[in-house]
Amino acid sequence: MISRRDFLQAGMAASAIVGASGFGNWSRLAAQQALTQDQLLQFDTFGNVSLIHITDTHAQMKPTWFREPEINIGVGANRGVPPHITGVDFLKKYNVEAGSARAYALTYQDFVSLAKGYGKMGGLDRCATVVNAIRSDRPEALLLDGGDTWQGSYTALKTEGRDMIKVMNAMGFEAMTSHWEFTLGLDRVTEIVENEMNFPFLGANIFDTEWDERAYPAYEMFERGGVRIAVIGQAFPYLPIANPSWLFPGLSFGVREDNMASLVEEVRAAGADLVVCLSHNGFDVDRKMVANVPGIDVVLTGHTHDALPEPLLVGKTLVIASGSNGKFVTRLDLDVQGGEVRGFKHKLIPVFSDVIAPAPDIAAIIDAERAPFEAEMAEVIGHTDSLLYRRGNFNGTWDDLICDALLSERDADIALSPGFRWGPSLLPGDAITREDIFNATSMSYPNAYRNEMTGEFLKVVLEDVADNLFNPDPYYQQGGDMVRVGGMGYRIDVTRPQGSRISDMTLLKTGEAIDPATTYIVAGWASVNEGTEGPPIWDVVESHIRKAGTVTIEPNTSVQVTGA
């Protein structure tokens, strides 16, 4: 007798074979500059349920360049395992040919030359075409969004997310969960949830602090192809810590593992055949949560922006990572019989914007939402000689540019810039428009502070942020990548405990060691504290780029990492 586990493994093998042949075809065709929409969308419909997952678009409605990380360090049990592999190791692990279209989409190597060959990725009008194609195969396919959708662009900031709501409604999303959504402020979120969005806003782990009751629906039940599907939403657990809690007072989050376990029991008792967790936990937190909470068939993970070409199996749970910025759409077909997953087929569909045609109705909405702002967004502020990117555990070149701007415009010794994962890339030779600056800085608490900190305090800050990234237990990792630093170098041993990871802090302009008792002028932005004063960061960056005309970012060698 074949067990459920055997079925899953058979499903996995089938997926891998489909994937492998796909990579081969694409790389050959790519060499001939002949990617086609039909090939990108090709999928032999399987089983009785299709899930479509998009996450972490960060309000990028138009195609962008987005360079995947070069440095993505896993610690403890997650050292050296997906998603903590990059570059050549990633290509090898997933059998991707160097220089192929898939290598361009999934890794950082040769990014500039491959970008020129394969073009920009994403665009929600192209994502809509992918969704439409899946729905023509399977009309009842379930379309789910993992959050970080209403923040990250000029228009999302100016319209407080209205542009994205309109696009999401028109694309027919059927549920979402959240993180940066709450940085629009609780009143705006409430207005959207009650009046503007026409699908559920799920958050099983969002509670009001006063009565300890759920503030949003935990799950939604769907019946598709005769299968009852419970979609449980899990918002980013560390919102009041990682982002300003004064923007959403009275709400408490957290992983709340016991809460998830009891919900899984509840939806099973209510007749769910398939339990899907639509999560913004981040990959490693989800990996731990589904190992500890039995009964989740699929976790659609988000937050950490990982794009994995194959599902990762944790026990019986499929972990699906669909990337960010609209670069990818995941299609997951499942065969669900008698309350069990009997097999699956998966494809991480890369959205090559020059290959996949825009859906005209969605393109029209995007253009209409952008039109009032087009002139101010399109203004060219300067140019770049260097590749500008952010994603990675330590400083990216976009961050170096922001830190340079803070140092010069705010006349500071040291600059601190938060370790956000969002923010598309620019290629050498590109113009830097106002829209591009907002793509790297757009948010609701942008004030660039200028203040004094002692060397001792700076060490505490770096140690604290480092533990939020490199604590061996994912539940104690709070969110973003390492704080980006300008004007100061340091060493970090990621394997050490908090308090002893950071050493050799050096003030770059003098070459002297940072003195614990000395006070330094520090400029930064995105403080989580209410009442932070200073100009918005985009004005600081714009002024700096205008003066420079063309920016060149030298390789950053001031952070030395060991133990990776």
């Binding site: 957290g254 938060p418 502070y449 104690y476």
Partner: protein, 138 residues
């Protein structure tokens, strides 16, 4: 430059931040626990402690304890200057042997819950609760 309260807040970093390296277990915590258990080694089962992994606000951290069969549960914050933070007693007619409260934590440390059972034995649960500066969230 005179650092006003507003400036201090605008650092993006709370004034509590200097205590943010994980706190050591204080001798006072060991003494307080020993005074309750009389030095007996508690069982590591029979009590559940629910606490956040990372505190949303170190000044008011929600915790709950549950131990069927307990006559008394004490909660200690092993890095606080005054480690004993709560004591709950349950009479013979108590419907549940659970309690919830909010505690203040001086920094990252273990919260320890110890139950004294009806037969005089002890049960312990502990969890690290992290107190962090915050910011930088993905």
């Amino acid at each position: 430059m005179q650092l006003t309260r507003r400036d201090a807040l605008s650092l993006g970093l709370g004034a509590t931040a200097l205590a943010l390296v994980p706190l050591r277990v204080s001798a006072a915590a060991d003494e307080a626990i020993a005074a309750f258990t009389g030095g007996a080694a508690p069982a590591m089962a029979g009590i559940t402690l629910t606490a956040p992994e990372i505190a949303e606000n170190g000044n008011t951290v929600p915790i709950s304890v549950d131990s069927p069969g307990a006559v008394e549960i004490r909660v200690f914050a092993d890095g606080n200057p005054t480690p004993a933070v709560a004591a709950f007693t349950f009479g013979p007619l108590a419907a549940t042997h659970s309690a919830s409260t909010r505690i203040r934590l001086a920094g990252t440390q273990d919260v320890v819950a110890i139950a004294r059972m009806g037969d005089g034995s002890f049960a312990e649960a502990r969890q690290t609760v992290k107190v962090t500066i915050g910011g930088c969230g993905g």
